[in-house]
Symmetry: C3
Subunit: 671 residues, 3 copies
Amino acid sequence: MYFGACYYPEHWPEERWEKDAKLMYEARFNVIRLAEFAWGKLEPSEGEFDFSWLDRAMNVMRQYGIKFVLGTPTAGPPKWLMDRYDAYQRDLNGQVRGFGTRKHYCMNHPDFHRCTERIVTQMAQHYGALTDVLGWQIDNEFGVCDTARCYCDHCLQAFKVWLQQKYDTIDAVNEAWGTVFSSQMYRSWDELHLPTYSVHPHHSPGLAIDYRRFASDSIVDYQRLQLQILRKYAPSHLITTNTMGKFNQLDHYDLNKELDLCALDVYPNMKSDPKARPSYMAEQLDITRGFKGGQNFWITEHQSGSPGAVVLYPTPVPGEIRRWTYQSIAHGADAIMYFRFRTLPYSIENLWHGILQHHGEPGRKFEEVKQIGQELEQLAPLLAGTSPQAKVAMIRCFDNEWSLELQPHMEGYEYIKHFETYYNYFYDRGITVDIVSPEASFGHYELLVAPNLMMAKDETVQSLYRYVEEGGCLIMDFRSGAKEMSNQITQKRLPGAFRDLLGIGIEDYGIIEASQQIGMRDLKSGEVSAAKKWYEVIDILDLDSAAQPIAVYTDGYYRDTPAATRRAHGKGCAVYIGTAPDQDGLYRLLDQLVEETRVKTDFAHLPDGVEAVIRKEAGAGGRELLFIINHSFSEVSVPLSSGYRDVWTNQAVSGPIELAAQDIRVLLLSS
Amino acid sequence: MYFGACYYPEHWPEERWEKDAKLMYEARFNVIRLAEFAWGKLEPSEGEFDFSWLDRAMNVMRQYGIKFVLGTPTAGPPKWLMDRYDAYQRDLNGQVRGFGTRKHYCMNHPDFHRCTERIVTQMAQHYGALTDVLGWQIDNEFGVCDTARCYCDHCLQAFKVWLQQKYDTIDAVNEAWGTVFSSQMYRSWDELHLPTYSVHPHHSPGLAIDYRRFASDSIVDYQRLQLQILRKYAPSHLITTNTMGKFNQLDHYDLNKELDLCALDVYPNMKSDPKARPSYMAEQLDITRGFKGGQNFWITEHQSGSPGAVVLYPTPVPGEIRRWTYQSIAHGADAIMYFRFRTLPYSIENLWHGILQHHGEPGRKFEEVKQIGQELEQLAPLLAGTSPQAKVAMIRCFDNEWSLELQPHMEGYEYIKHFETYYNYFYDRGITVDIVSPEASFGHYELLVAPNLMMAKDETVQSLYRYVEEGGCLIMDFRSGAKEMSNQITQKRLPGAFRDLLGIGIEDYGIIEASQQIGMRDLKSGEVSAAKKWYEVIDILDLDSAAQPIAVYTDGYYRDTPAATRRAHGKGCAVYIGTAPDQDGLYRLLDQLVEETRVKTDFAHLPDGVEAVIRKEAGAGGRELLFIINHSFSEVSVPLSSGYRDVWTNQAVSGPIELAAQDIRVLLLSS
Amino acid sequence: MYFGACYYPEHWPEERWEKDAKLMYEARFNVIRLAEFAWGKLEPSEGEFDFSWLDRAMNVMRQYGIKFVLGTPTAGPPKWLMDRYDAYQRDLNGQVRGFGTRKHYCMNHPDFHRCTERIVTQMAQHYGALTDVLGWQIDNEFGVCDTARCYCDHCLQAFKVWLQQKYDTIDAVNEAWGTVFSSQMYRSWDELHLPTYSVHPHHSPGLAIDYRRFASDSIVDYQRLQLQILRKYAPSHLITTNTMGKFNQLDHYDLNKELDLCALDVYPNMKSDPKARPSYMAEQLDITRGFKGGQNFWITEHQSGSPGAVVLYPTPVPGEIRRWTYQSIAHGADAIMYFRFRTLPYSIENLWHGILQHHGEPGRKFEEVKQIGQELEQLAPLLAGTSPQAKVAMIRCFDNEWSLELQPHMEGYEYIKHFETYYNYFYDRGITVDIVSPEASFGHYELLVAPNLMMAKDETVQSLYRYVEEGGCLIMDFRSGAKEMSNQITQKRLPGAFRDLLGIGIEDYGIIEASQQIGMRDLKSGEVSAAKKWYEVIDILDLDSAAQPIAVYTDGYYRDTPAATRRAHGKGCAVYIGTAPDQDGLYRLLDQLVEETRVKTDFAHLPDGVEAVIRKEAGAGGRELLFIINHSFSEVSVPLSSGYRDVWTNQAVSGPIELAAQDIRVLLLSS
């Protein structure tokens, strides 16, 4: 378990460093993240390098047992570089995104690539052999501040190359994008353009999705440029990059594939609805764990004060840092680095508060962090080797998210919000969920939810058929199979590739207007809830094992037709929901499905605001730790079966346990 | 009666064409619209033409009795053209509106003119002699996507020429625009500029309105360029262009003047309020009929599925396509072309649904269209020669609409919304309305409403005086006569040129704030309703036939002064309303005025959602068809005098008739 | 007392001038403002001057006893100038702000400076010796329409010079702005840039505030350019410029320092909430009086009709012009110039109504102005030498306003709105307030409020300590002392420089979310009100004279800790409020503090909508005039002690007096 903070020695007088190191030591820190953004201090002029200040800072720290995660400094390219090579991004109006903040570089700029290679090589050569460097973070928050997509000439050239590799001929591009519409055909590669400002706000869905894919690949390629250098000179160091949970401007499965582990930046208080913060953060953590198929991850930045640039988000109340810290650990974090050790007096981050206030003396947040440090000393050995284990998975697919961002179909629809209607069900029922790529293997899950899987590669389709045949319970919903990977709408009858699996046909569909009241009756309970946003008129296909309606519409011209169906197939079943039920309706459906499976939970009836998560060693009889977190500000009583031991008091715990407001209990299952 | 669809052979495999033709034949189609947007397929490289594919497609179609409306393809100029000549529009920030959609060309670009002449000449020469080409549509939806106004250098040059023709000298421009204000004078034509981005968001009203007029004229000129070629090579073909009802970025009276007939694109479901769709569509249809003084028109695109680009509008429910189709016909449509025959899988229109879904097989919408086709076979001979006949007219004037768009006077005011407060009255009372140009002849109308006629040419003023003198009842309202055609405010006492006609003076006026409650008492009934948005303090002039107050304000410093007046003059009367009454107040006033005139209706008390419209042959004893359309989703009973015969059952109909939800009855008055 | 209007002879036919002069004479006018914006008429081509038309106009006017305030015409540079020198401003996207309105020039453009010097020199030489020119207005409303800040290359160069003068070395700039953050360091002056469009919407607070200061200084410098010429050629004329009350894009203390007197443009009806207009206008007037330390001022433009460009603001009702006029005078206006004499038919100001409507004949507004003219003849001699005298002052500081505009800390926070929560208290209690610079001398005030004084120069800090020591009562509130003048956050413990004065420490703080309910209990009354927006956790320091809590929080983790404190120090006291109380809470606190001081008022319990203001001669026994203004539309009864005489009837007045709706009473205290 790593425990520490982000620390920027270049921001503080050298004579201060030792005091900070002592405070860290006092708080049981064993790691700091540093040097990302320090390009200008490391290479003050082109080709002139200065690592001496960083070496001195690290020397001070290592005397107190602190180890290092080094950031490559490429997120903060200095002015001399940006100006000399005009490496600035262009926005979709062609406007230069000028100097003054960060991340303003074009990912496809050849000179920027060259400069990147030079600084990363220098750093890697300098630090690659050190044993107290745990690892590296490449760049910082790829895509933040809407920087994932640039519209400059370098990007246009790179896009052409990308398309040539994908399509070979310009005619294949024309075919895929359907440029015959409105005479948009390209006669040659020269005529290609980026999806920039035009008469209509929207470009062809084909062009638009390919540009998103290209931009994502550009980031992955740019990361690989750095990765290869680090692998060469720092072969024993771990390599990661920090990500932002739901952020969707790049495909994070691709981004994390070649890294050693994933990392997340955790800022719960940036979520505006206070009630929603616990489930929101749980989701970010589960998303991150899913970027590398369920592997534990690092928290590279963790809220330790009120975040904010020009307005502040809420200040963590006493006990709140501790609460979020344990939530992160419960969901699979093996390192916690608070952002930042001390609040900066200057720059646009001078309201982004850290552990120490601006004056630099320890206060209540420091004391809280210190307490956590002490607790973790005891907990760390038990945590080693454990991770969350899920019987349920949800597919989050960037291709579909992009496609639905480009054409959301319904006013106010967002892929991730729809995704969350399912996620929140499992969160509320205390059921751990893996959030996985459509290319993951699903065999070990009891239940698999694939929201709005409009497009899917053949392998994914086959994998889903196989999943059901072999006994899985698959839940799909509206628009499944409606698109090709090209972002064209399928010319097959709906639901396209999933027609046979689901045993249904869909000829007719449309939006449910906000002013309309369309009911949906659950056939098991007879209860009626609301169908929202979208309807599909479902025909049951005449198959050997025919689908059965499990809910019907109670209004509209499609009244009494199925709103949801369930088809037994092979050893498993395939469920289809043709609308977006309201929360009551969705929970009712899912409760029935969960009941049928071996997905069960002791925690389906937790008090409001209480979260329960299990980390386990793999394999039967592995160590199992239960985290109970009271996110509420009231005392709660949590029902519990016997057989647990409190990891800190080492006392047996049984029966209902009382938790104070915001308190945490970590319990070891007696083996 | 023409009945068919928009069909794009270039979007589908050639081997599919025959199947489509057969389906069309099955649905009784006799026309398709095609080839607009196909420039890139017709002229793949500059000066190289290929009509062979279109010829082959037309050959397939004509075997099934289908005739053609050919679109000139200029709304979709290909990339080679746009790039070679930089024919792109500039927006008011000078930003190029790039490739990727359509309509991005500058209307005043000399090379674009040359290219237009070439392609239209080629097409006209190729198809001009064909007898199964019914006609041509020039370009597509002029001005759509905010393309009516371009701010490039070509437009600046063209604007100077336009101004020179209008004003002769730069001093006359200075005079008309009042450039002496803030030292904005131009010493020479060189100093002229377009109303582009500046310090203040608004330019001089004089410059701004002239730029709108110029831009409108540019479109009319560009259309004429094509029209002259078509007249030359296709002298026996009808020529039209498709328009968009309320769309106001160009003067549609000018646009339609030289065409053979008007055309409208009908998408009722794009109106957000479902309750308002029937009256909204009725208004669009009546507006279109007014573009050429009451002449019947074509529907070049008619909703046949859910429209939508990135979000869908509502899907037509069963029976809905039929309902809108008959509404269009009732209001004067002599051709219905559904948009589109089959839904496209690609491009930004892949959610703009047509008769067939993406998979291309007939479904419920096809069946509904087929039913209409059968019904129309019976109805068509009766329709021939009939058209709606109105006793009421409303003036819609683009000069005033533009002037009030530039200076709406009141927060939230829109000319067309104010216009609709009157229009909706007549719609609700079952009274057919013609919507006419201020230059129309008014003599045959019983009642004439001229909302917010701030500026009017001398001829219009004289025409309105004459109208009243000869027995018409004219309704004018606030700000009438307040402006000169230059968009300067008049220096005459208000209401300017209409002072003598109305017999009133206005010295004082202002907005009614949303927070204010100002009442208006109708003097006949004594009922009080609310005066909204604007007040004028009206003095009764001491004339031979003095105006009489018909309503007074009940609040404000102008309490007890007239809010509306009526003056008998000649054989007619002139009514003035100094405020915007709420619906109750306006309907009460209009009911009284309608009662005085020979405007009467049998349908003043129709059930909610039911529309009744008459199409008649001109002349006494002409054939008269009554359309009763139930726009509601309930069964209704409609009172009816006897003497009708159902056109489809051929049975006599009398007494109240029952209509199912969404049903239509077309009745022939027994002669 | 000067009384008149803004008049633009160049807008009207020369033969009209005499009629206007006669009307002015009839209304007792003795002054007009003219010639601002007339550059193009005065210098029709570069270097060619024509004052003849203006001379003729002035000749007509002076025959009727009218004197002149001449505007330098630089707010309306003609097209020939703007085009020849490309003197246009650039916005922060680098976009040229083109011709067509006004004020589009760059304040730092060398050629524009040269052209300015030439026209001002010509005017000053021509008119500088005239005795009926009372004074000059330089340019017009500096900064209006967001023109205070330009982002062109001239500004970049000028900014570098400004920074060199302030910081000497580029390293000092780096230090002050904290550019080490994210490698934003400048190696040389060449690398400097303006805070233009970038990836992140916000630049470093250091750069951002310095650019605001620089832009403000640029305007002051540009004004000085003109001022020096006027001083030279018109040494006996008064010089002013017209300002806009709360407008904050430049430092108005700096702007007015070198002028002879301040001037304000008064448009009450542009304030959207009708109820708030009286206090809003009072505040603007008091702000203006504060620009030169309490000195009387001129109203260079005064609403005399409905203002408006594209939509109208409310038309003044009968009596309203008179009401606002007396409010202006009561607060210190020594000149009233109505805007405008006659409403213009053309230009974007053709809905900006003046005394005469467009037709130019006298109407109700003219009659009202004439009545005021007659009344003022009687009042003027009594007014001479009097001015408002305040015992309370509030500090309005542009540095803090800018800093909090850049980083408002809280959603929806605005410095001036927070300022107004205090101002409105004093307005409601009938207590006259001076609004002063942080560099003013405070000694003569009983009570001093310094809202959100985050940063303060050392002299201000010392001055505030001294103020309290010598007996003043100082009220400070949250974030006081939190910043350095560089806009860095202090590294001292909070409240920074004010820690010892206030006797408190602040370690912890944060926003109060809109969804939170945090109470604040007043310890004297025990009443609970709401704490809003921000909280600070206040520790009482262990000092000789310890601070005392006067209110505590009733909720949150800081429940029962002080929300406000009061510390006796020297002969005075220092109060601190750590949150933004709701109106009840704030009024309760302030009532207690006012009670303790010698600030008292006879008018604490005025009827709703009634304002009472005193103008006095300085010194004991000086003449004292009491203005009672009924802003309401009801009759009111105002309690009054005896000893007054009505200035118009010359009758003694005592006991409660009755005022009609909107009526005014001016009373002379019997000496």
